[in-house]
Structures are given as C-alpha cells and as structure tokens.
Subunit: 88 residues, 5 copies
C-alpha cells in the first residue's frame, strides 16, 4: 500500500456503469510535490480532500468491494491518523 | 486509475483474435509531455482523440469486459468531464 | 520480492474492516535513502522498526493470508538474516 | 498495452518446461533508445526482429494462451501496422 | 519477463512457511549497475550467482509452482544461454 494525500476529485459522466456510485479522488503520493505521480483512487473510507490516506493498488484493490468484477485498480482503504517514521 | 489524454490510435491487422473489434487508443498520462510515458488502452467509453480519459490498468482492466480471457491490460473506463485539484 | 528496511508504522482508525488486526509498517527499499520510494506493508513475520525484511507485492501478497479477499498489496513475508552479494 | 520494437531474441535451454515451444523476443518500448527499458515477451503474433509490436503485460498476458498456468508476464499480441499520433 | 544477472542470495530464518525450501536469489536487471534496481527472485531453474537468468514477475510468477497460494512475486524461470540483440 502507499500513503498519499487526497488533492482533488474527478468527474466522469460517461463511464463504465460498474463505476456508478463510486467517489473518485485524486491522490498524490506522500513526500512528493510532483503532480505526475498523482493517480485516481476509488474511495471506500469516506475520505476527502486534505486527508492523508492509505491506498491499495492492483488486483487487491478489488478485494475492497463485495464483488470481483469491477474495473478499479486503486482504492482508498483507510484514512491515516498518524505516521511514525524513525530514521537514523 | 490514471487520468490521461487520448493522443492517437494504433492499427494492427495481425493480432490475437480476442482483440478483434476493440478500438486501441494511444493515451498519454496527464501532466506530462513525454511520449515515452504513453501507452495503448482498449476503449470501452466511446473515447476519441483529444478526450481526457480515466484508465484502469492491470488485471482490473479485464473486469471492464464481459469475459475474463482477454489479453488486455489497460482500458479506458470513462471520459473525464472535469478534474478539481486543490493544492495549497 | 524486494528487500527493505522497516522505518516506521502507520495508524488508521477509519479503515476497511478486513484490515483490522494487521500491523502496517513503513518499508523503504534497501540501497536508497529516498523516502519517496517507501511504502506500507502488512506484517506477517513479526517484524519491527530496524529490521531488514523481505516483501512480496501485488496479488501474490494475498497468498500470505489464509483468505483471498483482503485489500493488501504488500506483505512482509520474512525477516532477513543476511544478504550475500557478490559483485565483480 | 505498450508499443515496442522487437530488437532481438533470447535463448534458454534450461527453463521451466511450461515455456517450451515459446519464442522469446527482446522488446524495447517505442520512443526510447535506452536498453535498460527492454524486456522479454513471448510471441503469439509471428513477430520478428524489426517489427513494431503491441505487448500485453501482467496477468492479462496469460489470457493470450489457451491455458492459465504459464509463467509468462509479457506477450506480443499484435504486429503494429501504423500508429497515428496527433499532438498539438 | 526480464533478463537479469544473479548477484547474490538472501537468507531469512523467520519467514512465511510457504517459502520453506525455496532458494532466494538477488537479481540485478541486465544493462544496469544500479543496485537499487535489484530484487529477490525464487529460483526454479537451478540458477546460481553469475548466471544470466530469465525472470517472470507478478501473479504469473506463481504459475511456475505446482500450487497457487505461494507469496512469491518473482521467479527465475530459465538460465539464459545467449541474447541476440540487433540494433541499427
């Protein structure tokens, strides 16, 4: 999983109907300011802009849903309370 | 998922027959001008050159189709209406 | 798999309930000091901060668990005793 | 999928028997000269050195075969006739 | 698949028991000297340090084993005899 900041949202009217009802948020990985590293994740943790979140990618993203056939490759699975990094 | 711009299309006569009928578009990730970052996605959202699109990658891409055995790893699942990014 | 150093931990109260009980650690790939390369892995090897660990990514990460439907894409599958690299 | 150029081939006598009979080609992604970006793909489209090809990666690569249990993560699924890129 | 050189091995006593008996080798992709690009692969081709090998990654790596539930994402599937690259 990766830690990222929710920096926005995306709207798409014309889309795969299996995506209906999903909130699609733009996430930028923590520790970078480069917008090119940003991506879109479906929210399952009631996250919003400004939140730091935990994101699961790949086929495991589908495991966050009750159904397997959903064309989603990135999911916000948690809202991060704190990160405790100990570097020497 | 990632946001990208459709910048072209690809034609291949000799190909896996499971790809027959698919529209194959060249997508360049948003926020970059580097053609090396471009890739090919199968279109399922009636997208065209100039559209900004939402792309699902990996095994989840196959979930956009009604059948699982299709050698496709990138699918356009939506046409983006607007991106709302709030950066501090 | 990749070799990494455990440099911290992450706390998320609001999260997918399928993640309950998992220890989420921050891992930085070996041979780099760049925090941007760090990621979060679920621990299944009783690892802790300071340990050098072996991490499995992608769908194979789920194979470390007794159940398949878990939204985890990175798992610590071992604690590294020694790395023996022979470079010319 | 990505577009690449076939620049060579690989030979391996001692290998997983499930790879027997496969033609393994070295592909370099289009728009780069960097050999470090090259990779090996199994050919299913009668491609050869000099051809520009369409490559599917990841688990979807296995969908090009009639059997699922094959340790292949990159497959040439088509030979590209033309690429039409419209850049502003 | 990628071509790499076996440059070492890794030892982990405390690990997922599904990894017991596997030889874990450190592989560095061909055409680079950067250790940061190295990774760990399970050997199924009787490879050793100094060998140039063919590595399959991702979920396809599990297809090299007789069982599916194994937390391995990189497998050495062959020992390379020769690479024939024709560049203009």
């Amino acid at each position: 999983m990766i830690i990222g900041d929710v920096i926005g949202s995306v709207w798409a009217t014309r889309k795969d109907e299996k995506l209906n009802g999903l909130k699609l948020l733009v996430v930028r990985p923590k520790y970078t300011d480069d917008l090119r590293a940003s991506f879109v994740a479906a929210d399952t943790a009631s996250a919003g802009v400004g939140d730091t979140v935990l994101v699961t990618k790949g086929s495991s993203a589908r495991s966050a849903f009750g159904r397997e056939r959903i064309p989603v490759d990135s999911v916000i699975v948690g809202v991060v309370d704190s990160i405790d990094i100990k570097e020497d």
